[in-house]
Amino acid sequence: MKTTQLLITLALAATAQAGDWLQFRGSNGNGVAENETLPINLSADNLKWSVKLPGRGLSGAIVVGDRVFVTCSNGARQDRLHVVCLNAKDGSIRWHRQFWATGRTMCHPKTSVAGPTPCSDGEYIYANFSSNDLVCLDLDGNLQWLRGLTHDYANVSNSLGMAASLVVAGGTLVVPVENDSESYTIGIDKITGRNLWRLNRPKSANWTTPTILEGVFKGRDLVALQSSKGVVAVDLRTGDKVWNFGNGASTTSSTCVFDGVLYVPSRGITALRPRSDGKTPDEIWQSGRLQPSTASPIVLDGHVFTINRAGVLTAGNLATGEREWQLRLKGPFSSTPAAAGKHLYFFNEKGLMQIVDVTVKEGEITGKLDLDDQILATPAVANGAIYVRSNTKIYKVAK
């Protein structure tokens, strides 16, 4: 028995690691990479490798140990779905699996069937696509289970393209497939791939990613689901509703959680502190002067940051929401920045990487690197490197 426990412990230690980036906006879901040292000035030497991918996409990469995972789609109908595993060290492809889309692949030309960022619990990779095909693979690419959510529910689709990312916590995979017609968020058993719960959601296209709230209500984990109606928090294991914030919210940029407070893209940004009694969260502040666009807000060094599409970075006071300073970056932006140390890392749609030191008064751009490529994806930070995928390639930037 002791030997078994030891083996399980060793096995887990070999998979989930502190430096991993396990989902959209990282393992903490807030875009901040803890204890990472990244370059703060940039030159061509910082580009360690770039690798052509077998298809298109704007999903973010995720990183588990020394492996980088990314999804793509290709084919005349974009109905061939790819999950690719690369070696972080040199970008060589470790394995590559393909699936056929079982749902519709129609989407706006700017987006892609490989829109949602995959996630991992450190042992398995969960990847979904705009066609609502969902696969679970182990780190070596062995298929564990699969679902076709449009195959299951024929009107689950969005003709502009689905792009909300899935998240995993505890034993539950939370898969948002919200759209104008048959609109759900589904809690799926991460081991079997069967539904634990299926929640009817507002009939409205929604590209926001759920946010895990660990142990915030009677020790239970909740998941906050954002939509045009606001934010509803449900029990991660059962899907039962716990609280509701009904003042409306964005359907593109997603809530960011820092130190137990939700910074919701609602009427600008609204800061909400969940209550221990499970009632509607307390509204700490609301600011219409912090306006996120497609990119989600991020918190660093006592500020909440938003960036609009054109490239105006706005710093708000974390405690009050008061706007403190603005800095113009070169846009346009679709991707959400990542943070490490005292810096924010941005990629604009033309592939220009820009680093901002947020501790300098009114912010300072400390580094730029032009990758000259279409980048709409949110970067991943792991083990001293930043990984970002373009529509056709994936790049590693490091010291």
Binding site: R104, C107, G141, S159, D180, I188, R194, N195
Partner: protein
């Protein structure tokens, strides 16, 4: 002693073979049994682990199991093929070629077999392409069409217009992908050739339409208006703004767009209309109705609802929806309900659809009562 050892080894080998073969077939059976909402996933996971222990000689059998498999099962099988082929570098090329040559096998499985051959012997694969011009696999056909287009372009470049036209005609007859059809059409028209795109695609151009009925707050999508109960072409009903009755509507749009705004001019919103046509089939058969539409819609075939979707103005393309239906021999009826919402932005003006009837490859199936392609439509559309 030596003979006994050999006999023993032979027995073990034979035993292993005999054990492996039923294991593959039993795994395949389990994988083919997966169903919706994750049904069969647990058993499939175990069967998949067993299946991938097989060596590459099992690949044709796994590919063959895709025939008739549901799309979820096909993905389980495909993943096993990928995993085995990635591990075992020595692929059974002759068996794969034999599999590829059998056009009764699943088209996607055959394409996968082709790509396995291509990975190991690209020259062999390239030689197979010309014979695939009319292949049931749309992806294999695409490669062959591309080759003929290239030949046409080469001939056109050296001013051999006659042979170039022949190549482009050959390519058009075989082409099923929209991008290729558009490329070929452009080339043929530059060479002063006529192209009947509606006929090539099989778009239905002649309709009867009735409306507008009410769709305030999207309620019209669910409401059953009289045409849903029975199509009576001489009836008069109460519409949203007065009496409504069926009228003829012919589209001359190359891509078969039926623009309801043309029938009811003026930017009218929160309305519903119906379009109706008949299709005389030479024999009973399964068909695909391929619909492009950015309005909420419902489609009935012979009075039976086959699909509906309440999404507005998110985008569309040719073949956006591929709807399965069964036609009977003789006259079939097609009824479409098309809803327009409240939005007033310029990109929400469209109130239109395009519909074609084809087989699973996208090859047009023409009705015996199909009229010639119209040169001019209703209201000169």
């Amino acid at each position: 002693m030596k003979h006994r050892l050999l006999a023993g080894l032979a027995t073990i080998s034979l035993g292993a073979f005999c054990w492996a073969a039923p294991s593959v077939s039993s795994s395949l059976k389990t994988l083919r049994a997966v169903g919706p909402e994750g049904q069969g996933n647990a058993a499939a996971a175990k069967a998949w682990k067993q299946l991938i222990k097989a060596d590459a000689t099992a690949l044709p059998e796994i590919l063959a199991a895709m025939d008739g498999a549901n799309p979820l099962a096909a993905n389980w099988l495909r993943s096993a093929v990928d995993t085995i082929a990635a591990r075992d570098k020595k692929l059974p090329l002759k068996a794969l070629q034999k599999f590829l040559a059998n056009k009764k096998q699943n088209p996607r499985a055959r394409r996968l077999a082709f790509e396995l051959i291509q990975r190991v012997e690209p020259d062999t694969a390239a030689k197979l392409i010309p014979a695939m011009l009319n292949d049931p696999s749309v992806e294999l056909r695409r490669d062959a069409v591309e080759r003929v287009i290239d030949q046409g372009l080469d001939l056109k470049k050296i001013k051999k217009d006659g042979p170039a036209k022949e190549q482009f005609r050959k390519a058009l007859d075989a082409a099923r992908d929209i991008d290729q059809i558009k490329t070929i059409t452009t080339q043929l028209r530059q060479l002063k050739e006529e192209v009947d795109l509606p006929r090539h695609f099989g778009f239905l151009m002649h309709w009867r339409v009735i409306g507008p009925f009410d769709n305030t707050k999207h309620a019209g999508f669910a409401k059953v208006f009289p045409p849903e109960k029975a199509v009576k072409l001489d009836a008069i009903y109460a519409g949203k703004a007065g009496k409504v009755q069926w009228s003829q509507f012919v589209t001359a749009d190359e891509y078969g767009k039926v623009d309801i705004n043309q029938a009811y001019p003026g930017l009218i919103k929160e309305v519903t209309a119906y379009a109706y046509t008949t299709y005389d089939a030479p024999a009973a058969r399964a068909v695909e109705l391929r619909l492009g539409c950015k309005n909420a819609y419902k489609v009935w075939v012979n009075g039976r609802l086959i699909f509906g979707r309440d999404e507005y103005h998110r985008g569309t393309r040719i073949d956006h929806y591929q709807l399965k239906a069964n036609f009977k021999k003789g006259r079939n009826t097609i009824l479409i309900k098309l809803c327009q919402n409240h939005q007033t932005e310029s990109w929400t003006k469209e109130w239109e659809f395009q519909l074609r009837v084809c087989d699973p490859t996208g090859t047009a199936l023409h009705a015996t009562n199909r009229p010639p392609t119209p040169k001019q439509g209703t209201n000169n559309n």
